[in-house]
Symmetry: C2
Subunit: 231 residues, 2 copies
C-alpha cells in the first residue's frame, strides 16, 4: 500500500491555536482576552486564537497569532495541551492546541491596547470565557505553576528591573497564596541569580526599594554546575 493513498483516505481537521496570554498588572496575574467577532458566540470573551496554516509548525502558528493580534514578538510561550472534543466548537469540528504566553506588560501594554478589542481581565472572571477556554486557562495556570516552581520564568512577567516586593507579589499571584517576606527574600537572594542595582523604586514607598535584575547568564552557568532553581 502506498503512503499517499493510505494517508489519503483519512479525515482532515481544522487546527486552531489558542493562547493563554498572561500579564502581571496591579500586583495580579491577568489574562488577555478578545471579543470574538464571528458566530458562534460572537461577542463572547475568548482566548486569543487563530487557525494554523499549511506552511508553519505549531509553535510558529502560536507566535504568528500572538503577533497578529497584539503586535508582540519574541514572547516566552509554552505549549500546554491539545483539545479535541468532538463538539468543543459548536461551529465546526476544530482541534485546538493551546499555549501559555508570559508578557511583560510594563513595556508593551500601552502600545497594544487602545486600538483593539483586547482586554485584560482578572482570573476570577474566567467563567465568562467561551467554549472550553476556561478549561484551557485552568490547565495553562497549572502548567505555569509547575514550570515556575522549577525554572526562573516569572521574570518574563516583570520589567527588566524590579523590586523584591514585586517579585514576591508575582509568585504569590502565580501560586495563589501568600508567602513570608523574610523566607522569600532569604531563598531568592540565596540563589545568587539576582543583582541589586544602586537605584531605588520610590513609586510605592517613601523609603524606596532597591531594584534588582535577573542575571540570566549567571543562572545558566550555575545550571551547568548542577544548580536547580526551585521556588
Amino acid at each position: 500500500m502506498h503512503e499517499d493513498s493510505f494517508y489519503g483516505v483519512q479525515a482532515r481537521f481544522l487546527i486552531a491555536v489558542d493562547c493563554t496570554i498572561l500579564g502581571f498588572i496591579d500586583n495580579e496575574i491577568k489574562l488577555l482576552t478578545f471579543r470574538r467577532k464571528i458566530e458562534p458566540k460572537k461577542g463572547g470573551l475568548s482566548l486569543l486564537g487563530g487557525f494554523m496554516n499549511e506552511n508553519e509548525n505549531i509553535d510558529q502558528a502560536a507566535s504568528r497569532v500572538l503577533k497578529t493580534l497584539t503586535g508582540l514578538d519574541n514572547i516566552y510561550m509554552q505549549q500546554v495541551k491539545a483539545y479535541g472534543n468532538v463538539d468543543r466548537d459548536p461551529g465546526e469540528r476544530v482541534i485546538s492546541v493551546t499555549y501559555y504566553a508570559l508578557i511583560n506588560v510594563t513595556d508593551y501594554a500601552n502600545s497594544l491596547l487602545p486600538e483593539s478589542d483586547l482586554e485584560w481581565i482578572s482570573l476570577d472572571r474566567k467563567r465568562e470565557l467561551i467554549f472550553d477556554h476556561e478549561q484551557m486557562l485552568d490547565d495553562a495556570i497549572l502548567l505555569l505553576r509547575r514550570h515556575a516552581a522549577l525554572h526562573p520564568i516569572g521574570f518574563n512577567l516583570l520589567p527588566e528591573k524590579f523590586t523584591l516586593t514585586q517579585l514576591q507579589s508575582l509568585y504569590e499571584s502565580i501560586y495563589g497564596e501568600t508567602m513570608d517576606k523574610r523566607n522569600f527574600r532569604k531563598k531568592i537572594l540565596g540563589m545568587d541569580i539576582l543583582e541589586r542595582l544602586d537605584e531605588k523604586d520610590k513609586k510605592s514607598s517613601k523609603r524606596g526599594a532597591y531594584y534588582y535584575v535577573f542575571n540570566r547568564q549567571r543562572y545558566e552557568s550555575m545550571l551547568d554546575k548542577g544548580f536547580v532553581f526551585t521556588m
Copy 2:
C-alpha cells in the same frame, strides 16, 4: 461573516496519535514498538500510532489505536504533546498528538505479542526510532517522571501484587538512578498506602519477599485530607 465560510477557507490537517507504551520487564522500563508496514520508512521501528477519525475525540483516538494494535483496554494514558513540524513526516504533512501509556505486562504480554509485529525494546535503543519518535519518547519519559513523582501511577506498570524490591526497581528505572533500600522502604511504607499480604514471592529469593498491594481507596481518602504523594 458567517462561521462556515470563515472556517471554510482554512487549511485542514491529518492528525495522528502516537503512543509511547511502556511496560516493566526484567526490572527495566521497556517501550513497545511496531515495525512500520508502509512507506516512508517501511520496516522502521515506530511508536504505535494511527490517524484520528472524525467521530472521536483525541483521548478516544488514542485508546482506539492502543486497542486496535494490542488488544488492550482500560489502560492508563496521558497526553504528552502535539508535534507539528512541517516536515516531521516525509510522506505528507501530519500533526501528531502523543500519549504515554503504562501497561501491566505481567498480565498481558503473552497475549499480545506472538501474533504481531510488536516488540518490546530497551530504552537505550531509542535512536532506532523513525521520524521524531525519539523526541516523543524523550518528552514522554520526562513527563512520566514528573507525574510519577507526584502521583502513584507507577502501580499501573506492576501486577496487582508486587514486592517492595520490584517497586523499588520500578522507581529506579523510571528515574534512571539507584535508591537506598532502607530509605525507599521507610518512605513508601510511611505513606500507609500499601497493604502487606500474608503471601510471599519465592521466585527471586529463597527466603521469599512479602507481596504488597496498592490500596487505592485508602490513598484517595487520604488525598481528601490533604495528603500529597511524593516519590
